[in-house]
C-alpha cells in the first residue's frame, strides 16, 4: 500500500500554557475529502499552520507522501505539492486577478527566477492562468485589481491561487467564510469539481458545506482529536453533539 498523501504523527504544540495541538495523528489517502470541524479555538487553523510549516511542532512528525517534512520550510513544502487557502483572504490586492495567477504559476514553474524577460511574454503561463480563471468563472474579472472584486469572488481567487500550485494535498481553511449564502453555491460548485487525485482537508463552519463535501470528518476539541468517522457517524455521535453540533442545533432553532 502506498503512503498516505498527508500524515501527521503525534503532532503537539503549545503557546505557553495553551496547548493548540495535542498528539494529533491524521492520515489522508490520495483523493481524500476530509472535513475538520470543531468549536472556535479547537486548534483547526493552528493544525493547518503546523502542517504547512508556519508553526513548528514541539513534538511529532508531518509526512507528505511518506516523506518527513517536519523540518522543511514553508517554501520547500509548497514546492512538494502542499497548498493551502487562508481563512481571511491573503491575496495581492493591488494586482490584477491575472497577475495573481501568473505569480502562483511563475513561482511553481520557476519563471519568477527570470530578471530580464518581460512578464507576460510566455503564452503558456497566460494560457494556464486563463484555464484556472475559466474553471472559477473569473475570466470576466481577469484584468481587474483583486481589491475591486466582491468578497465572494475574492474567495474564488483564493482557491484558484492554491490550485495553480498544482497541489497533491490541499488544505482549505473555511473557504466559504464571509461569503453570503447567495454566493456560497459558487464556492461549493468549485469544491465539488476539484481534481479527484488531490487529497483535501477542509475546515468549515457551515455544516451544509461540510456534510455535502466531506467523506470523512475529524472532530477537533481543545487541540485534540475527539473522534473520526463518516459524516453519519459524526452526526450521530453524542459527544460531538454535546461539544459542537449542539451549538449549531441551538442556533438553528433560534433562527427558526
Amino acid at each position: 500500500m502506498s503512503a498516505p498523501a498527508l500524515e501527521t504523527r503525534g503532532v503537539s504544540m503549545s503557546f505557553g500554557a495553551l496547548a493548540v495541538a495535542r498528539d494529533i495523528s491524521l492520515a489522508l489517502p490520495r483523493g481524500a475529502r476530509r472535513g475538520l470541524i470543531g468549536p472556535n479555538g479547537a486548534g483547526k487553523t493552528s493544525l493547518v499552520n503546523l502542517i504547512t510549516g508556519v508553526l513548528k511542532p514541539s513534538a511529532g512528525r508531518v509526512l507528505l507522501g511518506g516523506e518527513d517534512i517536519t523540518h522543511l520550510s514553508q517554501e520547500a513544502r509548497a514546492r512538494r505539492g502542499l497548498a493551502r487557502t487562508f481563512q481571511i483572504n491573503q491575496l495581492f490586492r493591488g494586482l490584477s486577478v491575472l497577475d495573481n495567477l501568473c505569480l502562483a504559476i511563475g513561482e511553481r514553474t520557476g519563471a519568477c527566477n527570470n530578471l530580464f524577460r518581460p512578464a507576460g511574454s510566455k503564452p503558456a503561463v497566460i494560457e494556464e492562468a486563463l484555464e484556472h480563471l475559466a474553471a472559477h468563472r473569473l475570466v470576466e474579472d481577469a484584468l481587474k485589481p483583486v481589491r475591486e472584486l466582491a468578497y465572494g469572488r475574492q474567495r474564488l481567487v483564493e482557491i484558484a491561487l492554491a490550485l495553480a500550485q498544482r497541489p497533491r494535498v490541499l488544505l482549505l481553511d473555511e473557504p466559504a467564510a464571509g461569503v453570503s449564502s447567495r454566493e456560497s453555491h459558487l464556492i461549493l460548485d468549485v469544491l465539488e469539481r476539484l481534481d479527484e487525485e488531490i487529497a483535501i482537508l477542509i475546515i468549515e463552519h457551515d455544516m451544509d458545506v461540510v456534510f455535502r463535501f466531506a467523506r470523512e470528518i475529524t472532530v477537533l476539541v481543545g487541540g485534540a482529536v475527539l473522534m473520526e468517522g463518516s459524516p453519519e457517524e459524526v452526526a450521530a455521535d453524542a459527544r460531538v453533539r454535546a461539544v459542537y453540533l449542539g451549538e449549531e442545533v441551538r442556533e438553528e432553532a433560534r433562527h427558526g
Binding site: 509548497a78 491573503q90 493591488g94 505569480l103 513561482e107 518581460p118 486563463l130 481577469a142 484584468l143
Partner: protein
Amino acid sequence: MVASEPLEDARARAAAFLLRRHRLRAAEALPWLAAVLAYFAFPGHLAFGTQLLIMVLFTLSLDLILGYAGIVSLGHAAFFGTGAYTAGMLGARYGWGEPITGLLAAGAAAALVGCISGWFLLRYRGLTLLMLTLATAIMLQELGNARADITGGFEGLTGITIAPLLGRFDYDLYGHTTYLYALAVLFLVFLLVRRIVYSPFGQALTGIRENVRRMHALGSPVHRRLVVAYTIGAAIAGIAGALFAQANAFVTLGVFGFDRSAAVLVMLILGGAGRLYGAFVGAAVYMLLEDSLAKLSPEFWQFGIGLLLVLTVLFAPRGLLGLLEDLGRLLSRSASP
C-alpha cells in the same frame, strides 16, 4: 463545455494587458529630453546637474528595494559610501584611475556588501530591519574611521586622479564631460532597472511587498528573492557613489552618513515609490528646493523640505508623481465627459 471563442479573446486581451505594461511610452522620453536640454540651456550649472543625476541614480537604487521589494532601509548610504570609497581609493591609492572599470569595481564591492549584509538582515522585518540597516551604515563608517591611514578618515580622501573617459575625453572646468558621463551611466542603469521591475522576478518582488504570507504559501523563495534585489540595489547605489567620488575627486566619510540615507528616502517618498520615475521627480524637486531655499535662508532651508514632505505624505501618499497621474486622469476624464 468551454466556449473557446470568448476564451481565445480573453487570452489575447490578457496578453495585451501584460505586455502593454513594459512597453515604452512617449512620456518616458521627457526626463531624458530635459536632461539633454539642461546640458545646452544651463552650461554654467553642469556641476549641480551632475550631482542631481547622481542622486537620481541613488534614489532609483532605493526604489528597487523599497518601492518594489518593500524593504525599508535607513542605511542605504552604506552602499553609496562603499562605492564612493572603492572608486576613490582605487584612484588615489592604487593608481587605478580608469573611470569605467572603477565604476564596475565599485558596483561589485557594494554588491558584495549588500549580498552579505542582506543575507543576514533580510530575515527580519519592520523596526528590527530598520535598525539593522542603520547599523550597517554606521559600522562601515566606523570601519573607515578606524583605518583613517588609508581612507583619510573624516578629513577626506584627496588626490583622486581620474583618467580621461574612454581614454579620450578629459574633464573640463565646467563639467561637460562629467555631466554626459553621469547621464549615460544613469540611462544604462535605468534600462536595466526598468527591465527587472517588469520581469517575472520584479512581479515576485511586488508580490512579496503586497503579501509575504501568500508568497511563502505559494512556495516562493522569499529570502533569496529579497537578497537578490538588495544586492542589485546595493550595486547601483555603489555605482552612484563611485560617480560621486569621480565627479568631485574627493570623498569624506560623510558619504556613509545617516543624513544621506535619510535624504534619499525623502527623495523617493517625495517623488513616489515603486514607480521608476519617482526617483527623477523626487531627487529633482528635493535638490532644486534645497538649492534655492539654501540661498534664501542658509540656516533654515530644511524647514521647507520638511513642510513639503509633510504635505506630500498627508495629501499625496503616492508621491508627487502619483499626484500628477491622478491629476492627468482627472483632466482626461473631464475632457471627455
